[in-house]
Symmetry: C2
Subunit: 319 residues, 2 copies
């Protein structure tokens, strides 16, 4: 992966994906005694950064390529579904049957065919491979795909420019981390464009495979497959392509509890007027409750959340 | 009021207020069969467009001027409080005692002294005038102030530029309307910069003084002073300075029920990942449920809402 691939993706995304704002809230800064900047990717098309990687990958396909297939807990699938629809290509999304209903419904609404499987017993890779073979579809992996990482890296180009505009030259950049596509893409962009900014991954407690892998120097797995409210980022282990990049560029990984993610959602509601999903709020939670740098930037990477979960976060932490 | 005053305000606001995004959601468009663009002023500093007018007015004060006073149901007060704090000036905000607790708390957190009065029996003008006299404060009215209208008009400059960039040359621009400062400012900016865009005011049913006044050609009052969840825009009658502008430039006014405003909040949650307060959602509600133009732009003018009211909107309309 090179910065040139990220810049090429940025050219393809221009006018298709949104340049999202980097927001700051004076009262949140005052409450936590540091400056916190939030890259609001929940405002991206389809409600998460995943549209960037999806558009990058779909727009890079050969001219005669047929349809595409993605497996996804929901956000990658929505991104690929909309990108495929806008390219006039058929799209199949393989999703766990316990994915949030709003994500399943939206993926269908963007025009994709949704195939459900059981997260505990099913093998999404096998299901996906079989469908690709039968129907001649191109698999777009959620993070182990160079064009996807390049697309997510465009978030890092924007962070570099927005941080420079805000006068920030030294800061941690805390990034919500599942397989590591967004983290790796941002790390590569910052290395080239804002070397004083350092990526730190944020994961849910118990699903901190990236943090442990970065410490061990080798890819480790999580003991559990599910059981956190942060559905978007419960990947089994770091990506093959993303881990080496993060091992070379990222700082120590961070993790937060589900309750801390829900509390960050309530704080984003009050101070930033943003709707975040739990997995999209772990970086804000880690920025608030773990990171100790005086200036911290974090990704608010997704906002596709069922109303009942959001209302519960407000009831418990919105006081 | 002239476009030059709005441009001068824009110069003073540069780097102080945010240029907010104009958002669009493919699934919302599909559900309603038209293109809906949302100017997300809930992402403005202090959570509403009011910071624009406040900064415009405070930054236009004479060099030796002392502190400032505002009366406000909450959003204007928060805007003036932060603008005054960043100018190093003392600030008093006169608020009704039934204002949402989050607005009272935030106004204090921005450094203002809050003076509460009873909306049914008290006279905020008299209280404000007395305090201004005693303490040598300058009153910053919420809408009948040329610098405030000019500041709110910077929203219109941005809408004109963003609509042009999106290829929109003909559209209704539905604006949340209390006293009419935002509506009048935007109307003046659009007249000069995007004459194919026409302002229509949006108000709560029963508090549609502007719509009725525009129809009658003279300023009419509302029968009630309170009783709608849309606290931010329950003004008794159109502003003296704002009405003539809107009478000359705006289309027919619109109004929506409280339930429609709450439903628009739930739709903004799902499709735009924005937190709106009821009064900040009436324009989206009117754009969705009343306006019939194929392209419609609306302001999401504020997002300072108590969690319980937001959770109630989700529980009732978030399905």
């Amino acid at each position: 992966m090179t910065i040139e691939q990220i810049e090429a993706a940025a050219t393809r995304l221009a006018g298709q994906a949104r340049v999202t704002p980097m927001l700051n809230a004076p009262l949140l800064d005052a409450a936590f005694g540091k400056r916190i900047f939030v890259k609001a990717e929940c405002l991206q098309l389809t409600g998460s950064f995943k549209f960037r990687g999806a558009w990058s990958a779909v727009s890079a396909l050969a001219a005669g390529a047929g349809g595409v297939l993605a497996y996804s807990s929901g956000n990658h699938g929505q991104g690929v579904a909309l990108a495929a629809a806008r390219h006039g290509k058929p799209c199949v999304v393989v999703m766990p049957s316990d994915a949030p209903p709003v994500k399943i419904a939206n993926t269908r609404a963007y025009g994709a065919e949704v195939v459900l499987y059981d997260r505990a017993t099913g093998d999404r890779d096998a299901i996906g491979a079989a469908l690709c073979g039968e129907r001649g579809l191109t698999l777009i992996k959620p993070y182990d795909n160079a064009q996807v990482i390049a697309g997510q890296g465009t978030t890092g180009l924007e962070i570099a420019a927005q941080a420079t505009a805000a006068g920030i030259t030294q800061a941690d950049v805390v990034v919500c981390c599942g397989g590591g596509g967004l983290s790796a893409g941002i790390a590569l962009a910052l290395e080239a464009r804002a070397p004083g900014l350092r990526v730190r991954t944020a994961e849910p407690d118990g699903f901190d495979d990236m943090a442990r892998s970065l410490q061990a120097g080798t890819r480790l797995s999580n003991a559990r497959k599910g059981g956190s409210v942060c559905d978007a980022i419960l990947t089994p282990q770091p990506g093959e392509m993303t881990f080496p990049t993060l091992y070379s560029l990222a700082g120590q990984g961070l993790s937060v509890s589900d309750d801390e993610a829900l509390r960050a959602m309530a704080l984003a509601f009050t101070h930033l007027r943003l709707v975040l999903e739990p997995g999209g709020a772990v970086a804000l939670a880690a920025a608030l409750f773990r990171d100790t740098s005086p200036d911290v930037i974090c990704t608010a990477s997704g906002g596709n959340v069922d109303p009942a979960i959001f209302a519960d976060a407000l009831a418990r932490f919105g006081g």
